[in-house]
């Protein structure tokens, strides 16, 4: 039993719903109690889809238990086939139905429904949403894909073809990433055979084998499927996720290699503004900004590289809730000289943000809550997200345009350079109070009033539970003169310094000694 306030991932059947909803003509019959229909609102409200997800819930009740729940399931399956006439069906159980063991697979097999039916076994008490999506996609592909004919060598002038694998419904910017990557591949002279599951039909899935190779856009969703296709269809797969300038360049080289083409011309033509923006002197003040990253593995890894190599930030924390990919994230963290945080416990993440006092948090909707509470700037980089993270405009994360979007999104929440200096210089000015927000950000709901998460008074060093370090009143006063957005860091540094030197009190002197010791 695990105590949970917020969860990063839903149950695995929600992952299956993300696949079903992404597809065009596949219907999912889910054995579940009525409350589980809440999942529809993820798609209709949060993602603002204009259609109901193609899901029929059996909504059995307590009085049905032990009598006819299996019958209810069979009826729902037959009725939804008749009504929606899908070209393939998924059937499965939610957590509650899993416990009553009605055997959806057996019932489906005996149903006589004339389209392929994929029974899903998604252990709800063990696995989570992304795993459920990956497994559903994999089972569906295995069931539907047609054996490829012996590929004749490609004729002169015929463009190489690939599949785009992984984009789903309710994905973070998947819609826009598909567009950007399709554009990029086109520039390189590569066609997209099928993009799946987003906007694919059952027939499209059947044609997956016709491509020369696979682009794995989101490993959390597509890795299992791509590996299977590689083994069974001899389709190589990409291993680089093109988020960020460097990764996009690497991706282009990888793809060019797989497609047997020369990317030089396209690379010259494709433009990205991030490198120049980042080098322009206006960006000087971004140097060494302390950033904390927590996301799914794909976005966390990409963010770590972009933040450190392309924006000149200092990554002080890196973590993920995707345990399946924990190893990669641990390795990346090690490269950066830190230790990765692998957890799905929101409270643990919150504690680390509080301890590290970063200047910028890059995370999910949950980290947005945390950052808001602690008064730290924040940008959202990964699912789970909220309705405002499905912007009307096209704003990909992938490719060169994605890098441009990222530059804007990850710089914008911070104080602007000169403004930062002004606050440092004239902090006694009565108009520069602690609630000052960057002047280019309006005080709307999103920024909200700053909730003082910690007591204004500096408290004991949280790092260890030795005797608390006392702040002298003068030092405390001095600390309060420091602008809020660096105050946390100054406080932390002073306490760490005092602990290191075995001091039990922090004086004004200690504060400045710490400053000298740690530098900016």
């Amino acid at each position: 039993m695990q105590l949970t306030v917020w969860t990063y991932e839903g149950p695995p059947h929600v992952g299956a719903m993300r696949i079903a909803t992404a597809l065009k003509d596949v219907h999912y019959v889910l054995h579940a109690p009525q409350g589980d229909t809440y999942a529809d609102l993820l798609f209709t409200m949060i993602e603002r889809r204009d259609h109901r997800p193609p899901v029929t819930y059996t909504t059995f009740q307590a009085r049905d238990l032990g009598k006819d729940t299996a019958e209810i399931f069979r009826d729902a399956m037959l009725a939804s086939y008749e009504r929606f006439k899908p070209n393939a069906m998924l059937v499965g159980a939610s957590c509650t139905a899993e416990l009553i063991q009605d055997d959806p697979a057996g019932l489906a097999a005996a149903s006589g429904i004339p389209v392929p039916i994929v029974p899903l076994e998604l252990p709800s008490y063990q696995k989570k949403e992304n795993w459920g999506a990956a497994e559903t996609f994999y089972q569906l592909v295995r069931k539907l894909v047609r054996p490829a004919e012996e590929a004749a060598p490609r004729e002169e002038g015929v463009r190489p073809r690939c599949n785009l694998l992984g984009p789903t419904a309710l994905g973070f910017r998947h819609r826009d990433d598909v567009r950007e990557i399709t554009y990029l591949l086109d520039k390189l002279g590569i066609d997209v055979n099928v993009c799946a599951p987003l906007n694919a039909t059952a027939e499209d899935i059947a044609r997956l084998g016709e491509a020369d190779f696979n682009v794995v856009m989101y490993p959390e969703i597509a890795d299992t499927t791509a590996r299977w296709l590689e083994r069974n269809f001899k389709q190589p797969r990409t291993t680089i996720v093109p988020i960020g300038v460097g990764a996009t360049r690497d991706f282009i080289h990888e793809v060019a290699e797989l497609a047997g083409i020369d990317p030089a011309a396209a690379l010259k033509e494709l433009e990205c503004r991030l490198p120049w923006y980042s080098r322009s002197i206006d960006s000087n003040y971004l140097t060494g900004k302390r950033v904390f990253i927590f996301a799914d593995a794909t976005h966390a890894l990409a963010a770590a590289r972009i933040a450190s190599e392309e924006l000149g930030y200092e990554v002080v924390g890196l973590g993920t809730y995707s345990r399946e990919f924990a190893r990669d994230v641990r390795a990346k963290a090690k490269d950066l000289g830190i230790e990765a945080l692998i957890t799905d416990d929101y409270l643990e993440v919150e504690q680390q943000v509080q301890d590290l006092q970063p200047e910028l948090v890059l995370g999910t909707q949950m980290e947005r809550h945390i950052a808001k509470r602690l008064g730290i700037a924040c940008a959202v980089i990964s699912a789970p997200v909220h309705v405002q993270d499905y912007p009307a405009r096209t704003s990909p994360q992938m490719g060169f345009e994605g890098a441009n979007v990222i530059f804007d999104d990850w710089v914008h929440p911070l104080m602007m350079g000169l403004e930062e200096h002004l606050l440092g210089m004239f902090r006694e000015d009565f108009e520069f109070n602690d609630d000052a927000v960057p002047s280019h950000l309006a005080m709307h709901g999103e920024t909200g009033p700053r909730v003082q998460a910690q007591p204004e008074k500096p408290d004991a060093a949280a790092a260890d539970d030795k005797a608390p370090i006392i702040w002298e009143p003068d030092a405390e006063k001095e600390l309060r003169k420091i602008p809020f957005f660096v105050r946390g860091k100054a406080k932390r540094n002073a306490e760490a310094f005092a602990a290191e030197k075995g001091l039990s009190q922090i004086t004004v002197e200690t504060l400045y000694d710490a400053k000298a010791h740690f530098g900016r």
Partner: protein
Amino acid sequence: MSHAVIADVPAPKEGCSERPVIRERGQREVFCGLTGIIWLHRKIQDAFFLIVGSRTCAHLMQSAAGVMIFAEPRFATAIIDERDLAGMADVNDELDRNVARLLERRPDINLLFLVGSCPSEVIKLDLSKAAERLSKNYAPDVRILNYSGSGIETTFTQGEDGCLASMVPELPTLPEGSDQSLMIVGCLADVVEDQFTRIFERMGLPTPVYLPMRDSNEMPPVGPDTRYLLAQPYLMDTARALEDRGAKRIPAPFPLGVEGTTGWLKAAANQWGIDQQTFDEVTASGRARAERALECYREQLAGKRIFFFPDSQLEVPLARFLSREMGMELIEVGTPYLHQQHLADELSMLPEDVQLSEGQDVEKQLDRCHAATPDLTVCGLGLANPLEAEGLATKWSIELLFTPTQGFDQAGDLAELFARPLVRRAKLKV
């Protein structure tokens, strides 16, 4: 827990119930009772709700509450995992451990609800025993109660019913021979409670007590001298539990709109023998204000055709208000359960020819809705945008529970909720 009864036993027939009711059994598109926690955890300020359930339950809470949570919520989920199911961990020990961790983190909690879910019920985890056991450990600092919010037993607003019902046996006893006391039952916004208290006091009624109370240290007393008014129509178990303690219900319509509010206040006034003149003196200004407020929206709503999907169990009183006071035409009034007894006054005020429906087969109901092309459709969050995309104006019903709508001074706000989607459609030229 006795929730299963709700679904099974048809309520006693009473009053005007001869109308044909469509009773359907198919896919329901309604939240489960856990959802009530979203407003309950803000109402009872020193209470915490610990759901004993699955990742689905936690995800439901977060998805349904997402936009509405600004501070740290006073609810959480103890997620049952495979170790618990496989018997590798003793579920009760695990629960105790989680409760200990929680109470350590939140020393401000005085009242803890263990909330049952579908999985906890299917595996027959006895939360009442657990609550009893834990109560012994934490008394007197923390009181621990339990109820079910599971989707196999309860829909949406019935979670509040379960919660309130679980508190009734805990309420202090009103000593026999006390003066009659007035209890208002059902979550209301604080501001609305204060308005009602002022009105009752001015009429010369006893100062009402409220269930739920804002502070668990101030549980309202109950006994044979308690007369209670339901402020919400979905409180069957709570009403039964109150009756068990000797309290008597004052039959009344629900305080939505001018007519509903007047009838509701009047029922209480009659109970205490308040004369008509006093009643009129006290309520006249409120009624007049409400009338004026409704006037603004009547033009927008009159003659418009409305369709209710079942959701909050507020559908019948809302339909009564919209048809009688705003001149709307009712196409279908769907509700998860039609409690004939509590709704007797309401049903008698509905137009003769209204189509009622109870339970749901969402696909068939959507067919009827499409065929009827209503001007306004009241439905849950899963259906609203798809219907809007088809060109139907909708009002998402959850908003009706998160907005103070009861009483004279909120009547205009209530009407506005229904007018806004229509006004918006008229404005937009894109």
